[in-house]
Amino acid sequence: MNFSYTFLVPLIPFAVFIFLGFFYNRIKENISGWIGVAGLTSVAVLSYYTAIQYFYHTPKLDGKFQTFVYSVNWMNFTDTLKVDMGVLIDPISVMMLVVVSTISLMVHIYSMGYMHGDRGFTKFYAFLSLFTFSMMGLVLATNLFQIYIFWELVGVSSFLLIGYYYEKPSAVAAAKKAFIVTRFADFGFLVGILLVGYYLGSFDFQYLNGPEGIAAAQKFGSIFMGFSVIGLALVLMFMGGAGKSAMFPLHIWLPDAMEGPTPVSALIHAATMVVAGVYLVARMFPMFNFVDHGSALHIVAWVGAISTLIAAIIALTQFDIKRVLAFSTMSQIGYMMLALGVSGYDGHEGVGYMASMWHLFTHAMFKGLLFLGAGSVIHAVHSNLMQDMGGLHKYMKITSITFLIAALSIAGFPGFSGFFSKDEILIATFHHNRPIFYITLFVAGLTAFYMFRLYFSIFWNKKTHYHHTPHESPLTMTIPLVFLAIMSIVPGYFPFTEWVTPDKVGFHGHIDPMMASIATTVGVLGIGLAYFFYFKPTDYPAKISAAFGTFYVWTKNKFYIDELYLFVTRNIIFKYISGSFAWFDKKVVDGTMNLIGNSTVVGSEAIKGVQSGKVQDYAFAFVGGVIILVIVVIYML
């Protein structure tokens, strides 16, 4: 099979971006919308075609899925250290193609309704295309350097989209926060890349994850707390991944990023960009697994576990519906991370990896749906707060039903896709790390509870009086909802265990009845509690929160992690460290520079007269110069 045409997958959105960017003054709103949708449709068609070709029609080699690399040489650092630009086709990149193109296409269609009448409509589509281009480039990257370039491009386009409502100070602040926090994390990523490049002499995934690269990486002895230098590099890379994927303690930007338009939250902060960290670990999985006997994976697992727990607890107490979803996203990505962290490599040992990727896929669909549903609600009610909602089921049937499907899926209700992928995660943790298994199980219950708290509060509960009667959103918004609702069920029946495994061989998966029944019980328990509390207006929630007292206040304030960051940066870094640097900079550095600058100006003033405009002076200088040169060269040397 020849997959070289997948070059087009990033290039089409890029072309759309260039086109819309250049002509954004001159294109009418609906035309730019259709251009964006048309571009993304072709990308989606290509991606689906690639997936079908790859999984069904490409013969396996030695029982493994083959890897195809098409690249051009872009830059040579040394004879061995080269940077290529190209596309890499293997199970996870093909899977990601489907995820990104599906969600992006849905968001493109949805935004035609949601952003209708917005002043910067064309700009919005240009940014969406730029984002899709960057994300596709990231997914298809053939080497660490390429992934880094696109990683930063993703960061930039995310910055542009979060700060899209740039008249709002909060949106600008959120965009800056997201950019700075992820940039800080990316610094670790870059150092990790450079370490790998320096010690292993290659950025290429094929080499690094192949037997030679692993063997070369294993040669380094432990230098710090049981980590070799390559192990440390992997931890640093994971830092970059944790920043993008909003893992504790670098998660603080994600809730604020909800200031962006809701379709953006669905695309970037639910389904695609935030899973880039998971994708990075999966992409480098053989390295993570074999270097230092998987020490780096332990960190991945525990960071994931802590994040999933904290986020789920915080999500219980939030009232802004997008923030609930944001914390839910963080929690679910924690799931993917911990599943990767407990995974092994061969055969059935790789169930964690498989479960992580599967959950990535199903989560993208149902979380995208949840965000788009929330957008539909916000579109109708013009508020983000739960208190302003209630009883909306009567007015918005399609939104309500699709939202319910997504909620059931994320809660792990049998028959929905989330059930299958979560089940695999539970199996993986159960066999490899018991403490994390209990965390995972507990969080599954919390997830079901907060998700149905959200659902009941929006669509049932009290009958709020609205200024104008809410109505169902236009077709451009409901069609993506329905499509994603279908996609929240169907992927559960895909043979993921045979498609996406670390060794690319695949195994026969089966549902463990015991695990399934435990998970279902926990999930139904959470749903039942939520029903009991929130289906009708009750005073239980108030009583419970009062009973938890301080803990509730702490949780509601997100454990004061933002405040902690602010305290450290303002009162310690800015005041003591930066303060003294600033003094040195202002007095010594600036002083020197001003002196140089002033003396330059003075000097330039002083020699002004030399350029007199008289040709005899010029001749004098000319001849004088010759004479001086002759004297200097002949007599002084």
């Binding site: 100006v601 330039s604 350029q611 040709v615 002076d617 010029y618 001749a619 000319f622 110069g625 002759v630």
Partner: protein, 466 residues
């Protein structure tokens, strides 16, 4: 030899047409000349034979061939950018063909100069390239400034060529031959030879406008028509640097201890003088004149290297410099032909009214200042490397200081265009297609040369032939 022959035929064709075209139809000759020269530029890229003529006075090789092509592309851009001006601003229609005939004659002089195999051919080329330029500087004879500039140019040029001719005689006296390859064998270090070197160097330094032989530059650049100013600042300078490099590296390596000192001192002086004067210029042409003096100082960092790598860095930088400077001059030309304004203050608020022009100017100035990712950065980078490779760290340091100074004044027009607001900014105007094509070529050059590394590798290969 093909370059020379075709261009000569081209001149003859234009002469014939000039005779047989009625005065009111002379404007059509602009497009004829443009088309013919475009064809000439393209044919230049085809493979040609190498070798020598006139017993070795004239030689070509792929490097020389390549450099002539670079000059051709530069001249083509200049012609494209001058079209508007020639069509609309020239009072006497009869003079239009003269512009091309004189310019092409000067270009032939450049060809001979860079192809020269002995000092005689070199001198003929030098003169042939200078004399038509004097006429071109005074092209608009009604303009007092232009006439003054021409007088200054011819007087200084005469002085310079007298001095360099004197230098050549001294080299002939000590080397025993006019042929480059003979001199390189026979020349011994002696005070006379050193004096010959200094005199010769000073004459060529005049062409490159190195300090203290640069005084004519600002006055002439300001007085000349903008097209000619760009020609003087890129083509004339580029060719002179090329031949200076060849002669210093290949003909006078015996004296390299001495000319390296001269180059060192002249480089530092040129950079500082160019930058300090550029700092306070208001007229854009004068501003670019001093900036180009400073740039020549940077180029000397490659000369001081003395090896193939130095030659590579020089040729690479000169290429980039041609495109960057033509981008900047093109914008000045476009604005001048549309509105007649040439001062930096007139550019205030330009971005709001003419965003594309401002962006071209921005790219060109960034490239001249050496800000990544445009090509100028890579060009400067290799020049630094060339000097640092031979241990001239102080020179590199002084160059960095100068780059910092230059950043300030290169950003002044940028600030005027992008940051400052004005109610009477130059209103939006649309240039003719040749002008837009010319600017497009310049910008494309700025990006492609910097980012497409095979060009650099190609120059590395060619420089071995120097």
């Amino acid at each position: 030899m093909r370059h020379e022959i075709i261009l000569l035929v081209l001149i003859l064709i234009l002469l014939v047409f000039e005779i047989f075209t009625k005065t009111e139809q002379k404007k059509s000759l602009i497009y004829l000349a443009l088309g013919l020269f475009a064809i000439h530029t393209i044919t230049g890229f085809f493979q040609t034979t190498d070798g020598q003529l006139f017993g070795g006075s004239f030689r070509t090789n792929p490097l020389i061939h390549f450099f002539k092509n670079v000059l051709n592309v530069g001249v083509l851009i200049i012609l494209l950018q001058s079209t508007d001006w020639l069509r609309d601003k020239v009072a006497h229609l009869n003079k239009i063909p003269e512009f091309f005939i004189l310019l092409f004659s000067s270009l032939i002089g450049m060809y001979f100069m860079i192809s020269s195999g002995d000092f005689l051919m070199f001198y003929i080329g030098l003169e042939l390239s200078t004399l038509p330029l004097v006429a071109l500087v005074a092209y608009n004879s009604a303009d007092i400034k232009g006439t003054e500039a021409a007088v200054k140019l011819i007087m200084t040029a005469a002085l310079a060529s007298a001095i360099s001719l004197f230098g050549m005689t001294m080299l002939y006296a000590t080397g025993g031959s006019l042929f480059f390859n003979m001199i390189s064998y026979q020349l011994q270090v002696s005070p006379l030879a050193i004096m010959g070197l200094v005199f010769f160097f000073s004459g060529v330094a005049f062409k490159i406008s190195l300090a203290p032989f640069h005084f004519w530059t600002a006055d002439v650049y300001e007085g000349a028509p903008i097209g000619i100013t760009s020609y003087l600042s890129v083509i004339s300078k580029g060719a002179a640097i090329f031949i200076l490099t060849t002669i210093l590296f290949k003909v006078l390596p015996v004296l390299s201890d001495y000319w390296k000192y001269i180059v060192w001192g002249v480089a530092v002086l040129t950079m500082f003088i160019g930058n300090l004067f550029a700092l306070r210029q208001q007229n854009m042409k004068r501003f670019l004149a001093f900036s180009s003096i400073a740039q020549a100082g940077f180029i000397l960092m490659g000369v001081i290297n003395g090896d193939a790598f130095g030659a590579t860095s020089i040729i690479y930088f000169v290429m980039i410099y041609i495109f960057s400077n033509l981008g900047a001059f093109g914008v000045v030309q476009a604005i001048s032909s549309a509105t007649g304004k040439e001062n930096m203050d007139d550019y205030v608020g330009l971005y709001r009214t003419n965003p594309k022009l401002s962006l071209v100017m921005l790219m060109a100035l960034f490239s001249l200042a050496g800000i990544p990712p445009v090509a100028g950065f890579f060009g400067k980078f290799f020049l630094y490397t060339a000097a640092a490779e031979k241990g001239y760290y102080l020179l590199v340091f002084l160059a960095v200081v100068n780059v910092t100074i230059s950043l300030y004044y290169y950003l002044l027009p940028v600030r005027a265009m992008f940051l400052r607001k004005s109610d009477d900014a130059i209103p939006y105007f649309k240039s003719n297609w040749p002008m837009r094509l010319g600017l497009l070529l310049a910008v494309a050059g700025i990006f492609v040369i910097g980012l497409y590394s095979p060009i650099y590798n190609y120059i590395v290969e060619l420089s071995k032939l120097l």
